[in-house]
């Protein structure tokens, strides 16, 4: 059995990611190494009642993100959570981060006993629940906020209209963490929630590059198709990120980047010339790489 550590808010080891969170856990229990939090992190979340499609996508995303050096954050639950971690653990590329609702000595769900152990050894397993705490239902929404707080972006793979993912999404939005969703069949109840997110303007994930770009990493590109567009400079990247995934006006981009409109205009013109963004009637939107 591995040792279980704990840090409190006033501890110097307390993760800096959480310290400024407005709902930071007062005390955090963890197994593994806190260094897992240092690289880029993406949360992959979704329903326990997933479809084959969802499981496949979650596994693949987890794998490809890990290959790209991104730590996958998830809740170790059945379904999507587990699939994502399974995929991430299948390559030794990056640490994985598990955030659970029960005490760290109470393995839940039991079926994920092996995964539980693997996550703790290859990455980090955290919980705010005291040792011995049972997986009571109310602990999971609370757990979800930590997932959102730890992630650079949240990807919803599959979720039902009323599901636990909604808590994570709300917590992410609350923290200005970008939320992405994987489109699913409109006839599938398991995709109703994630499709709803897309309808509401959430950025879609059709491949891992979409996620990588959302957290400001270079798209993995070359494997399937090369993005021949010249990479945007730092100022342009910030503007590109500020455009987000919905059409934005000059005013809103300027507000989001905190840059005067004149400077934003220069960046936008460059982005447009290089094919990263385009303007329609004054509204700016990002462009997909040319096929």
């Amino acid at each position: 059995m591995m040792t279980i550590h704990s840090v409190t808010l006033d501890d110097p080891d307390y993760p800096s990611l959480l310290i400024n969170d407005h709902q930071a856990p007062a005390k955090l229990y963890y197994r593994g190494s806190l260094t897992a939090l240092e690289g880029p992190r993406v949360a992959i979340i979704g329903t326990r009642r997933c479809t084959h499609y969802g499981r496949q996508v979650a596994t693949q995303l987890g794998l490809e993100l890990a290959e790209a050096g991104v730590a996958v954050v998830s809740g170790l639950a059945l379904g999507i959570d587990g699939a994502a971690h399974t995929g991430a653990l299948s390559v030794g590329g990056a640490p994985v981060i598990g955030v659970v609702g029960s005490g760290l000595d109470v393995v839940y769900p039991l079926r994920h006993r092996g995964l539980w152990h693997d996550v703790a050894t290859q990455g980090l397993l955290v919980s705010e629940a005291p040792l011995g705490a049972a997986p009571e239902p109310w602990r999971f929404p609370a757990r979800n906020r930590i997932i959102a707080a730890l992630a650079d972006a949240v990807v919803v793979v599959e979720s039902h209209m009323a599901g636990g993912s909604n808590h994570t999404v709300a917590a992410a939005i609350d923290r200005s963490v970008p939320v992405l969703a994987v489109p699913g069949p409109i006839t599938s109840s398991a995709s109703a929630g994630s499709n709803r997110l897309l309808v509401e303007g959430c950025a879609p994930v059709t491949e891992v590059d979409d996620v990588l770009m959302a957290i400001g990493l270079e798209a993995r590109g070359p494997r399937r198709r090369r993005d021949r567009r010249p990479p945007p400079g730092p100022a342009e990247s910030a503007v590109l990120a500020a455009i987000g995934w919905s059409p934005s006006s000059l005013e809103s981009i300027s507000l989001r980047t905190g840059t005067p409109p004149a400077a934003v205009a220069v960046a936008l013109t460059r982005l447009e010339a290089d094919g990263w963004a385009r303007a329609v009637d004054g509204w700016w939107e990002r462009r997909a790489p040319p096929p």
Partner: protein
């Protein structure tokens, strides 16, 4: 016994000289005014008589005939009262003939013998070709603006009489300048957020570029536009004269000289005649002429009738409007800064792209209300969105009108030093001379032209705006890349004809 006194009345924007001939002869006592006087003019008979008696001047009990020459032109208003009274005094021998030599008189008489102000004094005085002009005391400063005459102000008929017969001297001409009334309109500091809108407003004012604001209802388009006159510089004396004349001709209450740029905001139900000028009986300047040297704000531009909007095209290009009617053709000055405001689509589209519930056909119809040629005349087209909540509640107030006005004034002086009135009026040749492009700026424009994102005419417009932006940015001799980029971005917005993905 006959006396002729020069005076003038107002016709349209211009003053027309009128010679007031007074004949006092034998016959039944009576008083007749001929020469196409209107009602106010004809009633001057009673005012003059009462004023004489109140001023203890002798009233001739003889036949008095007043002719207003040229007799074929209609005369209006009460401004000839004073000239009639003086003519009468001269004709009855109360005044020596030489005392009124080279004098013209303008003013309305009160029954107590006081001399009251008349409107349109500037234009009226300007029409007079005499050495000395006597006007109501309140109008002295206004009349002096013309600058070609000796101007004397009088307060009453008795006072004037005493001076003319030599008992008294002319009262001191009130040399007080028309006091430069400080700007007291709405202040730009009240506009929260709206960084792009404020920026566009400043550029519009600095370079005289027409501005189209596109945004959902409640986003502050009107609020921004109403603050434009405040950041425009005060009118130069000649401009002020022009505008004052137009206002008095249009029957607006002209209260002294129009020293600040006028702000006209006609309702979107306006007819083409009310906007452009005309009418059948009396040719009257339209809203665009009343906005001469100022701002014409057209709120809800998409709701104006299309032929009304297209009537703006010629004046926008030429700075004057030629109104031709069967009876007369009149040229009204109409050089104004056009500010349009409209919603992106009929539903207002408060939710931003994707949130609109208009059908594509409805959107297209709305966008087409403003024809391409008119749209093209807007150098600046920007999106105005609802301000950020943080800005609304306790955000730091933006720059005040005074601060921005100062920068605008500097920029306008730069343009004037180049020999162009405003950057928006720079010709192609002047652009090459005064707004050369740096290599980087050239590349940006070249790319835009190659991808057909910019037309040849659009190119010149972008270069003019870029010049203004450069002027606001320390006035480097050459226009740089970021000026061009900003200029392009400031004319990007359009009403949404098609859905944004």
């Amino acid at each position: 016994m006959i006396a002729t006194v020069p005076s003038a009345t107002l016709l349209g924007v211009e003053g027309r000289p009128v010679d007031v001939e007074v004949h006092v002869g034998i016959g039944l006592p009576g008083f007749t005014i001929v020469g196409l006087p209107d009602a106010a003019c004809r009633e001057s008979r009673d005012r003059v008589r009462a004023a004489f008696l109140s001023s203890k001047l002798p009233w001739p009990n003889r036949k008095v005939t007043v002719n207003l020459a040229p007799s074929g032109v209609r005369k209006g208003g009460a401004g000839l009262d004073l000239a009639i009274a003086v003519g009468l005094l001269a004709a009855t021998g109360e005044l020596p003939d030489d005392s009124i030599q080279g004098h013209a008189f303008i003013g309305e008489l009160g029954l107590d013998g006081s001399v009251r102000r008349v409107s349109g004094v500037v234009a009226v005085v300007d029409a007079l070709d005499v050495a000395t002009v006597v006007v109501p005391r309140e109008c002295t400063a206004e009349a002096a603006l013309v600058g070609r005459h000796d101007v004397h102000g009088v307060g009453s008929l008795r006072e004037l009489y005493e001076v003319l017969v030599g008992f008294d001297v002319w009262p001191d001409v009130a040399t007080t300048e028309v006091s430069p009334a400080p700007y007291d309109g709405p202040d730009l500091a009240e506009v929260r957020g709206q960084h792009v809108g404020r920026w566009a407003l400043e550029v519009a004012a600095a370079g005289g570029h027409h501005l189209l604001l596109i945004g959902p209802p409640g986003s502050g388009k009107t609020m921004l536009a109403a603050r434009l006159p405040g950041i425009l510089p005060r009118l130069a004396p000649t401009q002020a004269l022009e505008t004052t004349r137009i206002h008095s001709a249009a029957g607006l209450a002209v209260d002294g000289l129009v020293a600040r740029p006028p702000f006209r905001a006609p309702h979107h139900g306006a007819s083409d005649v009310s906007l452009i000028g005309g009418g059948n009986a009396a040719m009257r300047p339209g809203e665009i002429s009343m906005a001469h040297n100022g701002v014409l704000f057209m709120d809800e531009m998409g709701e104006f009738a299309r032929h009304v909007l297209d009537g703006l095209r010629q004046p926008l290009e030429e700075g004057v409007v030629r109104v031709a009617r069967a009876k007369a053709t009149v040229v009204y000055p109409a050089r104004f800064l056009l500010v349009g405001a409209m919603n992106p689509c009929p539903c207002g589209d408060a939710a931003g792209p994707g949130g609109c519930y208009c059908s594509p056909a409805e959107r297209l119809r709305y966008a087409r209300r403003i024809s391409g040629p008119l749209l093209d005349r807007f150098d600046l087209r920007v999106l105005v969105s609802r301000p950020d909540v943080g800005d609304l509640l306790g955000g730091a107030p933006g720059e005040s009108t005074a601060v921005v006005a100062e920068r605008v004034a500097v920029c306008r002086q730069l343009a004037a030093a180049r020999g162009a009135v405003l950057n928006a009026h720079l010709t192609g040749a002047q652009l090459d001379e005064f707004a050369p492009l740096t290599h980087a700026a050239e590349r940006v424009l070249e790319h835009k032209l190659r991808t057909s994102a910019l037309s040849a005419r659009g190119l010149d417009r972008v270069r003019r705006v870029a010049r203004t932006l450069a002027d606001l940015d320390g006035a480097p001799p050459a226009v740089d890349e970021h000026h061009v980029c900003a200029a392009l971005e400031l004319r990007a917005a359009l009403p949404r004809a098609e859905a944004v993905a």
